[in-house]
């Protein structure tokens, strides 16, 4: 029996990636890890775009992915800058210490 | 279309913008410039008194330009008999307020910019004929006043400023909801939904039930501003903490926003609401008269005493408005002007001794008529005007209000008339404790009488206090026709 990779496989993979990313965001304390998890979630969305684009033979999805990648690159730049600043300020990457809004 | 009204409204703003460019160190220039701007504003508005056509109830000098046409918002200004005197009162008090700010030295530039901004806000409120525009001006006033109290005020200034801001804001938000409701429920053929006051007056007819709610929303906003009993407690705090000029503006003009709101918007737009709430409004007004006067009797702080007396005097205005006949409403109109003049003058006078002694406690004075004889004379005249002495302005207002109100609500009017007795008690008692008797405090022996600058602030007020009392006709005749129209609109 020939195994073909259908749309569903891609979607399931994307969903799994998304969940891994989400759980990472929710459970980890280290900003860097959280940041990586967010990237994971973002890429799962990209994966979905590409899958649908191929499936529907519509190039727009691909275009979107490029946009997302560009934005993500910028975001990584800004995000890492913030992470560095935070580390300089607090000398840690523990998110629990970033609670200035509380009280 | 002339730009007369626009220039009246925006001259102070323009002056404020230019003031930003002046270095903060040049304090004399800042004072001089602010005074000049106010003076120009006054002189530009003054010819209105003669050119205004008092035989017409229509809006005059109208300016109407689409502003945000997609939402039916116009830049619409206009003047009628009701707003004429209030506009003139505002521009008239402008230069006086600047002169009365001699004691302010802190952050001078910001102070005068705030006052000039406030002036634009107040004039805009009196002249706007578009509900949206009105609301903007209404809220614009709030910010400079907040700063005036909060930065240049007394020791409790932050509390007073926040209280003033929040209290007024709560009311005006309800009004905003009302305004939006009106917008969506007014459809003018060829125009669609609109915020335009004149169009709404012509085309809108709101269901009776809705009018009750709308009147409630507007009335609450205005009642807080007036302030009516029991929404008055922000006033003593604001007055006591505000600098002298702030108190003068607050008493002289800002409180009139509330009563003006009733006579311009709440009452003509919602006659059903007027009909329904009239007994309650009259009752609250009369309670305010007596209650304000009684609290004044108990005060030990001169400024607080005058502040509570404002509650009493504005109660007279509200009684007059809701008595809904020619005498009472005319009386209410003239009483608005009177209160601006007399209470404004009283705050200036309290400021005079405060600047010298830095206390407002009545007990810290006593027998100062000896060292300040002219001050005592002026104070007494202004107090008598506030008491309602015939021959001075206060009597004209109170008498017309009471004579008119008696025809609508005799029992409440009789109770209100006791306010006349109480007014004599609290003001004369204060005069006795401050001016008469032996000199009880050594510090007071070196007090100096009125200076030229103080005379310059008080004399113009005194002239009108006497003029309106002796010959009120030029003032009364300005709004006779407008009030007739108002009565037709407000009586169901």
């Amino acid at each position: 029996m020939e195994m073909t990779l259908g749309l569903n496989h891609y979607l399931i993979l994307a969903a799994i990636m998304f969940c891994i990313g989400m759980v990472g965001v929710l459970t980890r304390r280290n900003i860097l890890i959280i940041f990586m998890s967010v990237e994971l979630m973002l890429n799962s969305a990209n994966m979905t775009f590409i899958a649908f684009s191929h499936y529907l033979m519509n190039p727009e999805g691909m275009v979107f992915t490029f946009f997302t990648l560009t934005v993500a690159a910028a975001e990584v730049g800004v995000g890492l800058a913030i992470v560095v600043t935070i580390f300089r300020k607090t000398e840690s990457l523990d998110i629990r210490k970033l609670n200035l809004l509380k009280n | 279309m002339s730009l007369w009204l626009t220039s009246i409204v925006f001259i102070p703003l323009l002056g404020a913008l230019i003031l930003i460019l002046v270095p903060s160190s040049r304090s004399a220039l800042i004072r001089g410039w602010s005074f000049a701007v106010m003076m120009v504003g006054f002189l530009v508005s003054l010819p209105l008194f003669w050119t205004f056509d008092a035989s017409s109830a229509a809006f005059q000098y109208v300016e109407k330009v689409p502003w945000i046409p997609s939402l039916g918002i116009n830049y619409h200004l206009g003047l009628d008999g009701i707003s004429l005197l209030l506009v003139l009162l505002t521009t008239f008090l402008g230069p006086i307020v600047i002169l009365g700010s001699g004691a302010v030295t802190k952050r001078l530039k910001g102070y005068f910019i705030s006052i000039l901004l406030l002036q634009t806000g107040m004039l805009g409120t009196f002249l706007a004929l578009d509900l949206f525009l009105f609301y903007i001006f209404w809220e614009v006033m709030l910010i400079p006043m907040y700063f005036l109290i909060g930065i240049w005020g007394g020791t409790e200034r932050i509390y007073a400023a926040v209280k003033f801001f929040l209290y007024t804001m709560v009311g005006s938000l309800l009004m905003l909801v009302g305004i939006i409701w009106i917008y969506f429920n007014t459809t003018v053929p060829g125009v669609g939904h609109t915020f335009d006051y004149t169009l709404i007056m012509q085309h809108a007819s709101f269901p009776a039930q809705a009018q009750l709610w709308l009147f409630g929303a507007f009335a609450l906003a205005f009642a807080i501003k007036v302030p009516m009993f029991p929404f008055h407690t922000w006033l003593p705090d604001a007055h006591v903490q505000a600098p002298t000029a702030g108190s003068v503006i607050l008493a002289g003009v800002l409180l009139k926003m509330g009563t003006y709101g009733y006579i311009r918007f709440a009452m003509p737009l919602f006659p059903e609401g007027v009909e329904f709430f009239k007994p309650a409004m009259i009752a609250l007004a009369v309670i305010g008269i007596v209650y304000g006067a009684m609290l004044s009797i108990a005060q030990t702080d001169m400024k607080k005493l005058v502040a509570y007396s404002s509650v009493s005097h504005l109660g007279f205005v509200m009684l007059g408005l809701f008595a809904l006949n020619a005498q009472a409403v005319s009386g209410a109109m003239i009483q608005m002007i009177n209160h601006g003049l007399s209470t404004g003058a009283l705050f200036l006078l309290v400021g005079v001794v405060y600047d010298r002694r830095h206390t407002r406690k009545i007990a810290d004075y006593g027998g100062i008529a000896k060292v300040m004889p002219w001050y005592a004379v002026v104070f007494t005249i202004v107090a008598l005007s506030s008491i309602g002495m015939p021959g001075l302005n206060g009597f004209i207002g109170e008498f017309l209000i009471l004579v008119g109100a008696y025809q609508t609500a005799p029992v409440w009017t009789i109770i209100a008339a006791t306010g006349v007795i109480l007014a004599a008690i609290y003001l004369l008692w204060m005069i006795r404790r401050v001016f008469y008797g032996p000199m009880t405090h050594k510090e007071n022996e070196s007090l100096t009488d009125l200076k030229a600058r103080e005379w310059a602030t008080l004399l113009p007020l005194l002239i009108f206090i006497v003029w309106i009392g002796v010959y009120p006709k030029p003032f009364l005749s300005k709004f006779t026709v407008s009030i007739q129209q108002f009565l037709e609109q407000a009586i169901r």
Binding site: M22, I95, N99 | L295, A298, S330, L384, V403, P410, R432
Partner: protein, 686 residues
């Protein structure tokens, strides 16, 4: 019955028409404004223009001449009216529109009629004399100029009061004289008691003014006008067939409240004795001769309402009679020469008010006039006495002995003969000794009150008035005996310093003494002949419409009856005088020192404790209520409860919701995920 009523109404209308007709042919009296302008010029010059370096004499004479000039105008107006037919003697002189709003049409205008002319003659005449007197009395006062400013201001407002042709214009003057009185009572305000007395006068008067205001509201809402020439015919029209209508009674009572405030009637008289804190010329002019009679003037002016409301008139009569007696009894035990005169004034004002209550309006005004003469004289005389005592005490540098206390006087007759003789003449006049002015006016009032009893009224006004007359004679002669007779009781050595006052003071005394003697002869009682009462004849056009409106024609007393009444009145007065002579001359009793007061005498000496009762019953509760409202209600309930309560509720709500905003980004993310799941589920379920 109906027919006669209709006739009455018709006649009232005719009367109103003739008034209107008169206005058409009336002489131009616009120069009457000078009556007001002269005193106003005095105010402006003395108060604003002239500076401190102006000599005292010039200030004083400027002020006095302005009043004399007004007097001249008043005399001219009198002769102008005299030329006219009696029916036409009511002329409205309009100057400008004052309050015109809707149906309320009030002009700044005068009504020149017999009543107002009598009043302006009395006011300007007496004022002129008292101004001249003040030049001497106020000599060397540091605020001499201010004094004359205030005095001129007073005359200005008083003339406006009596000349105004409508209630509101009258009310300007009404409050204005109150202001002048306030300023002059507290003229020496360095003394807190004096400043307080001024304030008390103003506030108590305000209670009366409240009554006048309510009366005006009633008139306007029921009759639609407040102008004299319209409101009285309108009232007659509305109520001449409906006597004692509730509204007209209310109007009458409210006007009475006003009169009680201004004319110091029970229970609002309390300010007048305290008002003696002012300089003595002020007491003479304002608190004896003129201002305090304004209430009586207003009652007489409003005669129509009392004709239409006999019940209100009865209350007026009773208030007047009770005041006359009540104040007279207090006068028995006072030891301050001015306090005795003050209570005597209250008592005499009671007579005038009582006269208005028994429809003897003319007699009331007559007594107002004669009282102005002799009471002004008494006060000026007392001023001369005080002036003399001051001189004596100053001579020995004594600043503690009270120069107004009769217990320090005695035997002054020889030292100051002019003062003594003039004072004695005035005392004879007030005691009602035949031939003196007070006799005629008081007799007329008593005769009218008896007449009122005869035609079905109550005997009380007459009886109380008669008793008060006897008491008056007693306490006035007590005052004369203790002050001018016996031995001098002042501090040792001060006797050398006692001198007669200067000419500016004694000449007014002499003029007033002459008036106090002959002033009554223009109003001789009916027993001497039908038309000899020129005064009543002169005023008749003012009161005639009221009498006609209700067809009030009381039966005149028979001649023997009149003689009997005169005999009774004179006897009562003589008994009073003889008793006083017996006590204070024959038995040589003295006034009782403060620490030996006892029994009912002490109650009288303490003025029935009325001031204390007011203090405990009205003033303190009011102040306490105000304080309670402020501290307990305003600050705690409204501000603390409502305003801060709202704020607290919001803050509490915020506190609850704040826990959701923990500041931990992780928790936000969890919530976000939960939210997304909830939304997706809700979509799926639907």
């Amino acid at each position: 019955m109906d027919h006669s009523m209709e006739q009455a109404v018709e006649q009232v209308h005719q009367a109103a028409d003739t008034v209107v007709a008169a206005a058409a042919h009336a002489p131009d009296l616009h120069y009457a404004i000078w009556l007001l302008l002269f005193p106003l010029i005095g105010v402006v010059f003395n108060g604003l223009i002239l500076r401190k370096n102006i000599p005292e004499k010039m200030t004083g004479w400027l002020g006095s001449f302005m009043i004399i000039a007004s007097f001249a105008v008043a005399v001219k107006l009198f002769f102008e009216l005299l030329k006219l037919d009696p029916h036409l003697r009511a002329i409205d002189v309009t100057f400008f529109q004052w309050l015109h709003v809707g149906s309320l049409q009030i002009d700044f205008a005068f009504l020149i009629d017999p009543l107002s002319v009598v009043m302006i003659l009395v006011v300007t005449g007496i004022s002129s004399l008292i101004h001249i007197y003040s030049i001497g009395y106020m000599h060397d006062d540091p605020r001499f100029r201010v004094f004359f400013t205030y005095m001129n201001l007073f005359v200005f407002f008083m003339l406006l009061l009596v000349l105004g042709n409508s209630y509101p214009v009258m009310f300007i003057g009404w409050e204005g004289v109150g202001l002048a009185s306030y300023l002059l009572i507290g003229f020496w305000w360095e003394d807190m008691a004096k400043a307080t007395a001024g304030m008390k006068a103003f506030v108590v008067n305000r209670i009366g003014d409240f009554g006048v205001l309510i009366a005006m509201f009633l008139m306007f809402s029921h009759l639609g006008t407040l102008t004299f020439s319209e409101v009285f015919p309108a009232a007659a029209n509305a109520w001449s067939n409906d006597i004692n209508n509730g509204v007209v009674i209310a109007i009458g009572l409210m006007l009475l409240l006003g009169a009680a405030g201004k004319s110091a009637q029970f229970p609002l008289y309390v300010w007048l004795p305290d008002a003696m804190a002012g300089p003595t010329p002020v007491s003479a002019l304002i608190h004896a001769a003129t201002m305090v009679t304004a209430g009586v003037y207003m009652l007489a002016r409003s005669n129509m309402f009392y004709m239409l409301a006999p019940t209100a008139a009865y209350v007026v009569a009773m208030v007047g009679a009770v005041t006359a007696l009540f104040a007279a009894t207090i006068g028995l035990r006072q030891n301050d020469i001015k306090k005795v005169l003050a209570y005597s004034t209250v008592s005499q004002l009671g007579y005038m008010v009582m006269a208005c209550g028994v429809y003897a309006f003319g007699a009331g005004i007559f007594h107002l006039m004669t009282h102005a003469f002799f009471k002004a004289l008494l006060f000026l005389g007392s001023g001369a006495v005080i002036h003399t005592m001051h001189g004596g005490l100053h001579h020995i540098n004594d600043h503690h002995t009270d120069p107004q206390d009769i217990r320090n006087m005695g035997g002054l007759r020889k030292k100051i003969p002019i003062t003594y003789w003039t004072f004695l003449l005035a005392t004879l006049a007030i005691s009602g000794i035949p031939g003196f002015s007070g006799f005629f006016s008081k007799d007329e009032i008593l005769a009218y009150s008896f007449m009122n009893f005869n035609s079905g009224g109550s005997i009380l006004p007459y009886a109380l008035g008669l008793i008060a007359a006897g008491i008056t004679a007693f306490y006035m002669f007590r005052l004369v005996f203790l002050t001018f007779f016996g031995k001098y009781k002042g501090p040792e050595g001060s006797e050398e310093g006692l001198h007669e006052s200067p000419g500016t003071m004694t000449i007014p005394l002499i003029v007033l003494a002459i008036l106090s003697v002959v002033g009554g002869w223009i109003g001789l009682p009916a027993v001497f002949g039908e038309h000899l009462n020129k005064f009543a004849g002169w005023l008749d056009p003012v009161f005639h419409p009221g009498f006609e409106a209700v067809r009030y024609h009381p039966e005149h007393l028979a001649v023997p009856m009149e003689w009997a009444l005169i005999a009774v009145a004179v006897t009562v007065s003589l008994i009073g005088i003889i008793l006083a002579w017996n006590f204070y001359m024959k038995q040589k009793r003295q006034a009782i020192p403060d620490d030996q007061q006892s029994g009912f005498g002490k109650v009288l000496w303490q003025k029935y404790y009325v001031d204390e009762i007011y203090d405990a019953g009205v003033i303190r509760p009011l102040i306490n209520t105000c304080h309670f409202l402020w501290k307990q209600f305003d600050e705690k309930v409204i501000d603390g409860g409502m305003v801060h309560g709202t704020a607290r509720t919001v803050r509490w709500g915020g506190g609850v919701l704040r826990t959701l905003q923990g500041g931990v980004v992780g928790s936000y993310a969890v919530m976000m995920v939960i939210g997304v799941i909830v939304i997706l589920l809700s979509l799926y379920i639907r």
